[in-house]
């Protein structure tokens, strides 16, 4: 770790540093989603990469998922095991007095922070196309991380999500919104 204290520490969804973890068809660039990294770098924030729950559980050949498909006890246990590690790292930073935020991926069945994907009829032959809905709510991993943090009494970690999977996404607007989020979070120290 660098000796200087950063303005904050951002725990980011795995795929934002590694698009190889995406479901087939979802990678927007070869590796690193640079708009997020650029905003964090410009403000001197530390980056901490969270694991990809879907990659770890279902691998690279998985189909697209909606939250209902992922909402099983086994997947929740897998997410919780990953969340325990992330929460431990968050706690270590908080103990050092760092401001911590979590940046997920809106629309994701596992990493959504405010918006997840839903269709309670998906299942069976994988020919459902894009017939899912974007609905308010967290993804499975995000729920498990929130619960793990709550069990540790860490209830004031701010969260947001990258929206590049959502219709009408505007990268320029997102940069401004993310920058404002980070500045507000840093002021909260």
């Amino acid at each position: 770790m660098t000796e200087s204290t950063p303005p904050g520490v951002a725990f980011v969804a795995h795929c934002l540093l590694n698009q190889n973890s995406k479901t087939d068809g979802g990678a927007r660039c070869p590796g690193i989603y640079s708009p997020l990294v650029d905003v964090l770098r410009e403000r001197g924030w530390r980056i901490e990469q969270m694991p990809c729950p879907e990659h770890g559980f279902l691998g690279l050949h998985r189909f697209w998922l909606v939250k209902e498909q992922a909402d099983t006890l086994a997947f929740r246990r897998h997410c919780r095991r990953q969340a325990v590690v992330v929460a431990g790292a968050i706690a270590a930073h908080l103990e050092r007095g760092h401001e911590v935020v979590v940046i997920g991926l809106e629309g994701s069945p596992s990493m959504g922070m405010r918006i997840t994907s839903s269709n309670d009829e998906w299942g069976g032959r994988p020919d459902a196309g894009d017939s899912y809905r974007l609905v308010p709510g967290r993804g499975i991993f995000s729920e498990e991380l929130e619960a793990e943090l709550a069990e540790r009494g860490l209830t004031d970690v701010r969260t947001t999500g990258i929206e590049h999977q959502l219709p009408g996404h505007d990268p320029a607007v997102e940069r401004v919104q993310l920058g404002s989020f980070l500045e507000e979070s840093a002021r909260g120290r």
Partner: protein, 128 residues
């Protein structure tokens, strides 16, 4: 993978290279322009249980990339005194699932050397 832009290349990257100090080598920028995604290793000052769990999860995810023919490399920080111990722990985590450490570049801050190492990697079979 129509429309999918993945590079099929993954760099397991020391925290000190993801979060460099002032004037330090920006390994993320090098990885980006050479088409590598990054899997970050835990900070070497993390509590032992956090670091161990983190490395276990890195190893599990690497297993999938290695079995599917992705290129995987390890980027370490030659100046980090705690780096060798972490390297040993990662090797142990990989060994439990039947893998060896991937090709490694221990960075001394030389950006062209890092870029040359990444560009010298063979085309991954998954990308063929």
């Amino acid at each position: 993978m129509e429309g999918d832009k993945r590079g099929f290349r993954v760099a397991v990257c020391a925290d000190a290279l993801v979060n460099p100090g002032p004037g330090g080598l920006d390994a993320l920028a090098v990885c980006e322009r050479t088409g590598f995604g990054v899997m970050q290793l835990p900070a070497t000052w993390y509590p032992e249980d956090v670091a161990a769990g983190w490395l276990e999860q890195v190893a599990e995810q690497l297993d999938e990339y290695l079995r599917r023919g992705y290129a995987v490399v390890l980027l370490t920080d030659a100046a980090d005194a705690a780096g060798p111990a972490q390297r040993t722990a990662l090797a142990a985590a990989l060994a439990t699932i039947g893998h060896e450490l991937p090709p490694e570049h221990a960075s001394d801050g030389d950006e062209p050397a890092l870029e040359a190492f990444l560009r010298a990697q063979p085309v991954p079979s998954a990308a063929a």
